[in-house]
Symmetry: C2
Subunit: 207 residues, 2 copies
DNA sequence: GCCGAAGGTGAGCGGGCGCTTAGCGTGGCC
DNA sequence: GGCCACGCTAAGCGCCCGCTCACCTTCGGC
């Protein structure tokens, strides 16, 4: 199955910081299961089974099923923020930085859509405290993109009616890639990234 | 709670065709519960309770919990298709028709986000047959929007690199409104509709 | 060679799930 | 007034859920 290969392959690097090995295997198994079926439809027995362990083994490394989702969500959001921050802080015009931010953010959502789906769509399954923590990271993502657009407007590069609304629309467009993208579809992550960078530059009226 | 008011008020009209009354109350209760908690996290006891009935009453009107989701999904998609079709077939330039389609489609996703959330995000919880039926409706929605964009390109009104990809992006942008829109936020559905119509016209390079 | 810590297992608990069934009240029809 | 069809409820079945616990290995330090 493509999801397993992908998560076991390229995506796994993102989880390198998780130790010990058994805890990482469980986390990766949980990402796959949550992405396929959703958090509530996934059983702890399924997660443990995918990691090649007994159901009880999960509770040696994680207190609850929700802690797994919380850890996945935080690591994923930190990665997303890092991507946007890198693009935002590079040298270049606002248009170049925005195109870079959008294309790399979209590539992440398309290529790592297993992770991105969990990160973007299972937020409501977290408890209040964990959700608040993740929402703070999300606002930082928002601020990075808004910063680039504000720079472009200030420099006369962009022509935008509503900076806040346009920022939201740009992020929304990128995030929804995780919902519809499929490796069986006609596009590669790179192609979608390039197409979307062009569309977003049009949205902000780049000269 | 705003969701209850909204569904009991303006949105209810959409369910007028559902009879008898008890079946309609159960359907509306299910829409609210699925939108708040997700399909898998919603119990049949919760649905029946919201409709003011005992758990067993649900099974007089619906064979299974999944049948409720199926019915909601089909009615919702038919409504979405009708909105796009109306805009697509009106008189006017391609730009006017596209702006109309986007603004009314977005208004529906924002104003009726309780319904829209279920319709757009709970598709995977349906069984294979029901999902296939709904996906056919979704492809028809896609075709309506693509038709307008193709008309605009043919008439020299639009400047689009990738018609299929741009169509997908436009629909994706509109659909994701159901994920983030909140009545407590700074915009009304009308304002988001107008903003998005402008953004989409920019995306297709309308003259 | 013994020991304790770390990491794992099999069995199973309390509970809530989707759904069923036996029976009850009630309104329309003759 | 007698009767039945319909809409509904109270009770509960069988199942599987998240999670626990008693016990079992393995292995480095001495």
């Amino acid at each position: 199955m493509s999801t397993a290969e992908e998560t076991a392959g390229g995506e796994t690097s993102a989880w390198g910081e998780v130790t010990p090995d058994a805890a990482r295997r469980l986390l990766i198994a949980a990402v796959e299961a949550f992405a396929e079926r959703g958090y509530h439809a996934t059983t702890t027995r399924d997660i443990a089974g995918r990691a090649g362990m007994s159901p009880a083994a999960l509770y040696i490394h994680y207190k609850t099923k929700e802690e797994l989702l919380h850890r996945i969500s935080r690591i994923g959001h930190e990665k997303a923020l890092e991507i946007l921050r890198t693009a935002s802080r590079r040298e270049g015009t606002a248009a170049e930085r925005l195109a870079d931010a959008v294309s790399s953010f979209v590539r992440w959502h398309a290529g790592g859509r297993t992770t991105a789906r969990v990160v973007q769509y299972e937020l409501d399954s977290l408890g209040p405290d964990a959700r608040a923590e993740i929402l703070a990271l999300r606002r930082q993502c928002d601020a990075e993109v808004r910063g680039i657009i504000e720079d472009g407007v200030a420099a006369g590069e962009f022509d935008v009616l509503d900076v806040k609304g346009t920022t939201l629309a740009v992020l929304s467009l990128c995030i929804d890639v995780a919902r519809w993208f499929s490796v069986d579809g006609p596009w590669t992550p790179d192609e979608v990234g390039a197409l979307y960078a062009d569309l977003v530059l049009r949205m902000v009226g780049a000269k």
